[in-house]
């Protein structure tokens, strides 16, 4: 046997366990789910198709269609607000905070990362509740005459999400900012740009690839999350993951849950293609 063939055989042997794991526990379940989405529920039993009834239902039934719209609205809103809040924070830490405090500032900015995800949403439920700290302060300061309902509304969901993703985006944008050579800003200043112009016309565009990558990550994680909308948003308007869990819990409707999951995956794939295309264009 030639050395090259031995090498290839050994390489393949090493890759095989991981590949098998991925095939058996990721690809196979996915195929099973895709197949399941083509059957439908009659009474309590699954009637195997293949048919497209679930998909037809998703795009005609108001409650399901609304779930998709709600998920998209919340996700886009969260992504935009998070980027808008995280960028200045990352910039201030990277340029305004003295070097020796930088690491500490960054550590503080992502500190709540280290509580558990479920507990973080719960904490916001505490803070935003009718008797919570925020309402107490606002009423106490006389800014409100009586507590306003925030919990179990979309505002609570968005607040919880933004809190998490500001931390995530601050990290990605910060790492992008510190890689930029200070010479770009210096050159622009020498050429007469004001400080705002430097940020707006030079620094911001240079960080866009990092921002887009972070925003995509935010989009994917946000639209697929069940915990935050369930704890903070309540049951007034349901997001796509909440609808998926509802199909399972209340009716045991695996076919519909599978079909909704595939719709969710389709949305994420479309977002990915949009970002990839944009990043590619940027590079050319």
């Amino acid at each position: 046997m030639s050395i090259e063939r031995i090498e290839k055989r050994q390489g393949a042997t090493l890759v095989a366990p991981a590949l098998l794991w991925t095939l058996i526990f990721f690809v196979l379940p996915f195929l099973a789910m895709a197949l399941m989405s083509l059957s439908h529920l009659e009474g309590r039993s699954v009637v195997s198709g293949p048919d497209l009834r679930n998909y037809a239902k998703i795009f005609t039934e108001a409650s399901l269609l609304k779930g998709i719209a709600v998920s998209l609205e919340i996700t886009v809103l969260v992504t935009v607000i998070s980027v808008a809040l995280a960028w200045p924070l990352a910039w201030i830490i990277a340029t305004r905070v003295p070097v020796r405090w930088r690491r500490l500032a960054l550590l503080l900015a992502v500190l709540p990362f280290w509580t558990s995800y479920v507990v973080r949403s719960y904490s916001w439920a505490l803070v935003l509740g009718e008797k919570g700290v925020v309402m107490n302060a606002l009423v106490g300061l006389g800014m409100l005459s009586e507590p306003v309902q925030i919990m179990a509304t979309r505002s609570a969901t968005v607040t919880g999400f933004v809190h998490f993703f500001v931390m995530l985006l601050t990290l990605t944008i910060y790492s992008n900012l510190v890689q930029l050579s200070p010479n770009y800003a210096r050159a622009a200043e020498d050429l007469g740009a004001s400080r705002w112009q430097v940020i707006r016309l030079v620094i911001l565009p240079l960080t866009l690839p990092g921002v887009v990558t972070g925003a995509f990550l935010t989009f994917v994680l946000c639209i697929g999350d069940y915990i935050t909308p369930q704890i903070l948003g309540g049951n007034n308007e349901l997001t796509l993951p909440q609808l998926i869990m509802l199909q399972l819990g209340r009716r045991g409707d695996y076919p519909m849950a599978s079909a909704l999951s595939l719709v969710l995956m389709l949305i994420v794939t479309l977002a990915y293609l949009a970002c990839a295309r944009w990043l590619k264009m940027e590079r050319v």
């Binding site: 794991w21 526990f25 990721f26 399941m36 280290w114 507990v119 719960y122 999951s261 995956m265």
Partner: protein, 256 residues
């Protein structure tokens, strides 16, 4: 702009730290509800949760699932990364893509797929099933970290070991593993964190023995309670301790 910067920093840090501060303060609440006014400090909620059998069982379960699934994920990722760095295999781009693919799919969908498959072949929801799910979500991460860590320099060191007559397992154990030790540790700790904190897969794939996030979830159903604050504060404390330890030991060398 300087003042504006500091005002902004103050405001956003308040926003970021507020829930954690409130969580910790009201875990000491001497009263039934973890909301203002603060009625005085007590440790009774901590005593209560530390004496709670279900909660402590869940904690041990989480620890086990996190350690074992991370070990499996790191091992599989390490072998695959070494294999793909070893030789130009036909279809290696495809294999890399396949190994990374689970990263782009939401945990809910991975959990749902596994639940359906396990149902069909008759595997009951259990900690083992959850562990399998956690390997699925962490394997891409471990593979990506380790594959990125094997550069040209590492490749030639491995080749040198082979040329000097080392067997493949010897190359992996005596050369590759020590050389990649920092990346292996990073991959393990990241996997551990993700598994430790993962909720939805564990929620779908466990029934009687549950993990900590699932147990906390069921605590939430009984409404707000300082006991939940105490659990959250403890988890937070442990994680911060781990992070600070890592910061002071593992990453200190790197930053200098």
């Amino acid at each position: 702009m300087r003042t504006l910067s500091w005002v902004y920093l103050g405001a956003i840090f308040t926003f970021i730290l507020l829930p954690v501060v409130v969580l910790v303060i009201f875990s000491f609440q001497d009263g039934r509800l973890p909301v203002p006014p603060f009625k005085g400090a007590t440790l009774k909620w901590y005593a209560k949760i530390l004496g709670d059998r279900d909660l402590m069982d869940a904690l041990v379960n989480s620890m086990m699932v996190a350690i074992l699934s991370s070990l499996v994920a790191v091992t599989l990722g390490f072998l695959a990364a070494s294999g793909l760095a070893r030789a130009a295999l036909p279809g290696s781009a495809l294999m890399r893509g396949l190994l990374i693919a689970p990263m782009t799919v939401s945990y809910l969908i991975i959990g749902l797929g596994l639940l359906q498959m396990f149902n069909q072949v008759g595997i009951r929801p259990s900690l083992l099933a959850t562990g399998i799910g956690h390997v699925v979500i962490n394997l891409p991460l471990c593979f990506a970290i380790l594959y990125a860590a094997i550069g040209e320099h590492q490749k030639s060191a491995l080749q040198a070991a082979r040329d000097l007559g080392a067997r493949e397992w010897q190359v992996l154990w005596h050369v590759a593993a020590p050389m990649l030790a920092p990346s292996l540790a990073a991959a393990f700790f990241l996997s551990f964190t993700f598994s430790w904190d993962e909720f939805i897969i564990a929620f779908l794939l466990t029934r009687f023995d549950v993990t900590l996030p699932v147990e906390i979830w069921s605590m939430l159903r009984s409404g707000l309670s300082p006991a939940t604050n105490a659990v959250g504060s403890l988890v937070f404390l442990v994680s911060v301790a781990v992070v600070v330890t890592l910061e002071l030991t593992l990453f200190r060398k790197g930053s200098k």
